[in-house]
């Protein structure tokens, strides 16, 4: 019964990539949107997976849940390849693979295949002209899709009634409370309770905090810790989990077991109770740790049930984890019938967030006493004066550069200021925008630039941007970032001394097709390729 529920659920989700099978020729035109989809947290997970030794890699494919999760983490074109090869009993010719893409999408294809090979999902057969899927992965993933996997592959739903009412709202509250305790601890807020010992040692191992010993009082946040705070919750959790994986190796826990459990958690259903009977010994040992991070909820240490929280179930999906404060704010504004608990939450957050005033002279006033917010502001503002309920600071070239050096981007800073802007700044911005649009309509012009002939109100609206922050400050912050990287450098190789134009063009075109060409000059017959692409281009040259 339980397993059927799961199949239905992920077939609904997972079959959507199949649609692409019928329209493979679109890959060429959509390349830019696809390259943007790879977010940084996924690349860290992928890097971890790719770096695993072969033996471990082939063992992790034993678990159907892992196969499904790894499939979810693949780029779209790679998903398409896996789906197309999944039900083919024979290896597929490499030549055929290339026919599925338009020539201009060669770069995407190269990247997808590289990823698949690094994960050992596809391998060449003996002849070297055909590729096939990893046999274990193929079997398990096929079973996943057709619903014939082992009944406990995605956990066993506990049927015993729980005494206490554990609903989704409760789980969300539990998870965010646990997680926020960790974040607040990192910035040194005074808390009624400190995170557990295991969390503290993880933070230290991950280089997020430093200090002598592991006691809560002596730990200090590091630069990478600050960067960590500015990340999305999902990225934060993966950072912690990867650190946890490294730790388990030292504790002689089986990394495959640990990884499988993490991936199983990603496929569980929020709000359902799962029985601990299907878990291995290692996985049972993990439960208390995961509870400390707020990934699972257990009523007590020996409870036979556990509940995955939203933090866990969104691990391998694109959807957001817990709501960020600004999202909660937006949602409650739109959603008038939101329930009481949520509006209490919002009011609480409003007292902390949305209280920054930024002036055109780069002075910044923040009405806050939250150590977290002040600490974050201190990253890119040189703070001057602190009162009981506000701080005053100035944005300078040096303060922004300091932040940029620490790996914070100008966009992150601007987004932070925008989401935390004082309500009055937002109101002013909206009023200004309304006036502008009104002026434009009455004079039948368009001061926002773009196409002046379009007279419909909708398109005028779209061209005007809501400017919450003073535009001169925003521009200057962006300029400071540009100034920092006045030069861009790329490692690579310069090809020159070609005999004739034809020889040059063949090689140069190939390099640009696979996306490794950085610079070329036809008149002098020379071009520059990336260090990664060097072997490829050299191979191609020797084949000719």
């Amino acid at each position: 019964m339980a397993s059927n529920g799961f199949c239905a659920r992920y077939i609904r989700y997972q079959f959507s990539p199949c649609i692409t099978i019928y329209i493979p020729q679109i890959w060429g035109s959509t390349s830019h949107t696809l390259t943007m989809s790879g977010t940084s947290f996924k690349s860290t997970v992928n890097e971890y997976l790719e770096a695993l030794p072969d033996v471990v890699q082939s063992r992790i494919y034993d678990a159907p849940a892992t196969c499904l999760s790894i499939f979810r983490l693949l780029p779209s074109l790679a998903k398409f390849y896996v789906m197309s090869m999944l039900f083919s009993p024979k290896p597929v010719a490499i030549k055929d693979l290339e026919k599925w893409c338009q020539p201009q999408a060669r770069r995407l294809q190269y990247e997808s295949l590289k990823r698949l090979r690094a994960l050992h999902l596809i391998e060449n057969d003996k002849s070297g002209t055909h590729v096939r899927l990893h046999p274990k992965f193929q079997n398990n993933f096929r079973d996943c899709l057709t619903g014939s996997q082992a009944p406990n592959a995605f956990g066993i739903i506990s049927t015993e009634p729980e005494n206490k009412n554990v609903d989704i709202k409760f789980l969300d509250k539990f998870a965010s409370q646990k997680w926020e305790t960790i974040l607040h601890f990192m910035v040194g807020s005074e808390l009624p309770s400190v995170p557990s010992k295991s969390v503290l040692s993880l933070l230290k191992l991950g280089g997020l905090m430093e200090g002598p010993g592991n006691s809560a009082a002596t730990l200090r946040i590091t630069n990478s810790g600050f960067q960590f705070l500015l990340q999305d919750v999902n990225i934060q959790i993966w950072t912690i989990l990867l650190e946890y994986l490294n730790l388990t190796l030292d504790l002689n826990m089986d990394a495959v077991d640990v990884l499988n459990f993490i991936f199983i958690l990603g496929s569980l259903e929020l709000g359902k109770a799962y029985s601990v009977t299907s878990l291995s010994e290692t996985q049972l040992k993990m439960l208390p740790d995961l509870r400390d991070y707020g990934l699972v909820y257990q009523r007590s240490e020996n409870s036979p049930r556990f509940f995955p929280t939203r933090l866990a179930t969104t691990l391998t999906s694109d959807s957001m984890g817990l709501k960020t404060p600004s999202m909660v704010l937006n949602q409650t504004l739109q959603d008038a019938e939101s329930n009481e608990a949520e509006s209490v939450d919002t009011a609480h957050q409003e007292s902390q967030m949305g209280q920054i005033v930024l002036e055109t002279n780069f002075k910044l006033y923040a009405y806050t006493n939250s150590p977290l917010e002040i600490a974050i502001l201190n990253l890119f503002v040189s703070l001057k004066i602190r009162f009981a309920n506000m701080v005053i600071g100035q944005i300078t070239r040096e303060s922004i550069r300091k932040a940029l050096y620490n790996g914070i981007t100008a966009d992150q800073i601007i987004r932070f200021l925008e989401t935390h802007a004082h309500t009055q700044m937002k109101q002013l911005a909206v009023e200004k925008l309304d006036k502008k649009i009104e002026f434009d309509i009455s004079h039948n012009i368009n001061t926002a630039g773009g196409a002046p002939q379009s007279k419909s109100t909708d398109s005028t609206n779209a061209q005007h941007r809501l400017e919450i922050l003073p535009p001169n400050v925003v521009d200057q912050i962006k300029l400071w970032q540009l100034e920092l990287d006045r030069i861009q450098t790329f490692d690579g190789y310069l090809f020159k001394d070609f005999q004739n134009v034809k020889e040059y063009e063949v090689l140069c075109n190939y390099a640009s097709e696979v996306g490794v060409l950085l610079w070329s000059e036809k008149s002098k017959l020379r071009f520059f390729v990336t260090a990664d692409g060097m072997t490829q281009v050299a191979d191609f040259a020797s084949r000719k």
Partner: protein
């Protein structure tokens, strides 16, 4: 027969290119090839040195409003 040589491609605007060439004048052997008005090829070991030198040269032209406060 085409040849390939290892190095670091630098992409920058012409003014920065001029500055790098200036640096190359004082400490020889940084620039391997002058490619075009916005590209240079330099030695891999010298990348950090070039960046530091550039920073130093550019800093001369910056006005810092906080300077007055510190004194």
């Amino acid at each position: 027969m085409p040849t390939a040589s290892k190095g670091v491609l630098v992409r920058c605007d012409p003014s920065i290119r001029a500055l790098i060439l200036q640096i190359d004048l004082t400490s020889r052997g940084i620039v391997l090839q002058e490619l075009d008005s916005t590209h240079l090829m330099i030695k891999q070991e010298m990348v950090q040195f070039v960046k530091d030198e550039l920073n130093r040269l550019l800093l001369k032209n910056i006005y810092d409003p906080m300077d007055g406060d510190k004194q």
